[in-house]
């Protein structure tokens, strides 16, 4: 029972790290970015290449995956995304879906379509018993890393100048610009950081989610559910939503394997019917 809870939390944490960047682009910047999973995939493949081909230690590859995905994200934002901010949502959807197909095809071309696994050090494999609860070492690592990320994110948003600028830019773009905040750069950096986090999540999750060229499409629905259930106005919303979905998904598959796949969709429908603005929003601002 507790093992299921533990697995669910690990899965949820992972979902959060990958999709919190999407909450920012979709919710704060009002941009429908379906290509978010592509950055997660690139981060995952970056770690895979570094660890398996160049023998880099697994832990060292994680920050590199973050930086790599963030850089690609920044480049893509400055060169491509920036032209689509003021277009209709349909055009944004078409553009980002096309972007997904292109990255999938590129990865397929260079690295093949098989599932890839990152070679993990042996001390991260297996599991141990903790007062009768089976704890997977790797899943424990995921929980620790993700918890750290959540705390850091919360601190940055709440206690730094950049955080207050971001919140200002989101609350009222025009006034923020009037006060001399470079809104474009704030958004660009935020976008890049979101992509970086997705990349880090992709590298961490390669072991559990399985890395392959169709990764972005396979998980797109999960990321969108996290954002729509969690609402987009804070970090805590998507975070709690991710945990809820992770536990719901794992427990559903455990207790009712025949219907397990439907549980998260049911949660989503119920939440959206009862609270269309998302589960954890602080009132409506506009």
């Amino acid at each position: 029972m507790l093992t299921i809870l533990f697995d669910g939390i690990a899965y949820g944490m992972l979902l959060f790290v990958i999709s919190c960047g999407l909450a920012v682009t979709l919710g704060l910047m009002n941009f429908v970015n379906l290509a978010h999973g592509a950055f997660a995939m690139l981060g995952g493949y970056c770690a895979y290449v570094l660890v398996n081909f160049y023998g880099m230690p697994f832990f060292a590859s994680l920050p590199v995956a973050f930086l790599f995905a963030a850089m690609i994200g920044l480049l893509a934002e400055r060169s491509l995304y920036v032209h689509f901010y003021n277009r209709s949502h349909l055009e944004q959807v078409l553009f980002t879906i096309g972007f997904v197909f292109m990255t999938s095809a590129l990865v397929d071309y260079f690295l093949g379509s098989q599932q890839r696994f990152i070679n993990l050090p042996s001390y991260l494999q297996g599991r141990f018993d903790f007062f009768g609860v089976g704890v997977g070492k790797y899943r424990l690592l995921i929980i620790l890393v993700c918890a750290l990320i959540v705390i850091v994110l919360q601190l940055i948003l709440g206690h730094t100048r950049f955080g207050s600028r971001l919140r200002a830019a989101v609350d009222d773009q025009r006034v923020a610009r009037g006060l001399g905040i470079n809104v474009n750069w704030v958004f660009a950096l935020t976008f890049a950081a979101g992509c970086g986090l997705a990349g880090l999540g992709g590298a961490l999750g390669a072991e559990i989610l399985s890395l392959e060229p169709h990764f972005p499409l396979k998980f797109m629905i999960y990321f969108l559910i996290v954002v729509s259930v969690g609402g987009t106005s804070s970090i805590t919303g998507p975070f709690l939503a991710s945990i809820l979905l992770g536990i719901g998904d794992v427990a559903g598959k455990y207790y009712a394997p025949r219907f397990g796949g439907f549980v998260i969709y049911t949660i989503m429908i119920v939440v959206l019917v009862l609270r269309p603005q998302g589960l954890f929003t602080r009132g409506t601002s506009k």
Binding site: G134, I208, V250
Partner: protein, 391 residues
Amino acid sequence: MLRRSLLAALAATALAGGTLPAAAQETVKIGLIIPLTGPFTTTGKQLEAAARLYMQQNGTTVAGKKIELIVRDDAGRAENTARIAGELIQNDKVSFIAGFGLTPLAMATAPIATNAKVPMVVMMAGTSIITERSPYIVRTSFTLGQSAVVIADWAAKNKIKKVVTLVTDYAPGHDAEKSFVDQFKSKGGEIVESIRVPIQNPDFAPFLQRVLDAKPDALYVFTPSGQGSILMKQFIERGLDKSGIRLIGTGDITDDDILNGFGDAAIGVVTAHNYSTAHPSPKNQEYVAAFKKANPSLRPNFASVGAYDGMHLIYEALKKTNGNTDGDALLAAMKGMKWESPRGPMSIDPETRDIVQTIYIRKVEKKDGELYNIEFESFPDIKDPVKAAKK
């Protein structure tokens, strides 16, 4: 979708029907439709490599006619397969369509083969019902039931009494589950639970936890070949091996092509299947050596022999009809044909046009630094059990 394939089929009949009787062609064309892009690329590569190898070894002239192979990519999507089959028959005037990496691809193409009266050689897809969908379908791969029944027999004989089954929730998975469960129960075994997992399933963890808590003697698994690796990793990660649960299954989970990527986690897994790269016959050693020479990065798997034997069947049928490409004559020639394949002796059942072959029990072992499925028991002349049960 159905309407479109029917239209394509109608068009195909109109054209092909008009041209086939005038069969004074000097070349005989074979259309090979396989997934060369998308998630099933590895299967397509194996099929193509083996088909080309057969032609390279046996020449391109049969019964005085020149053989031409046309390879087309369907990306593993049924609507493409049906459309390409129609095009190949209408425009390229192929005398055979072959390939078919997945069950839905073969199912979508079946009516086209029927209408055009063109022999359709299924080289990979393994659901029982496929051959019933058209009288022009012949299969050279395997049916999942064949492997499932054999592993069920083996498990019952080897002190495995309680089993949980875990299959992917689509037609081949249902075949694999039903054949195993029926056979295992008839031998006095107990099925604790049957779990079906969604085909788009990211994480096996909860399902495996359920298995662990059910404490069976063995877990029987069928997944499409790509997903086997992640299942096996999580099987170990969750400690199912240490709690004494054995992993058994059809050979799809220990696909020779990707087995090496699993790492030592796979050692000791027992499966039943029709072909192993390590099959010890001289014919197979020759086959593996030639295959690796032509494709240094690949190791031949069960998909490859399906294509190799499919080409053999086409060549031999043409020899028998003396180059006549009439669909009915070719089908008559193919029925009941017997030969020695790299996998061992095999034949085409004259009644069902399905494959009859030896199924082997194999165990994953490390040999010369590589992982192989080492065969240690064989069950000769296995027919498709699903069709046998219908009678």
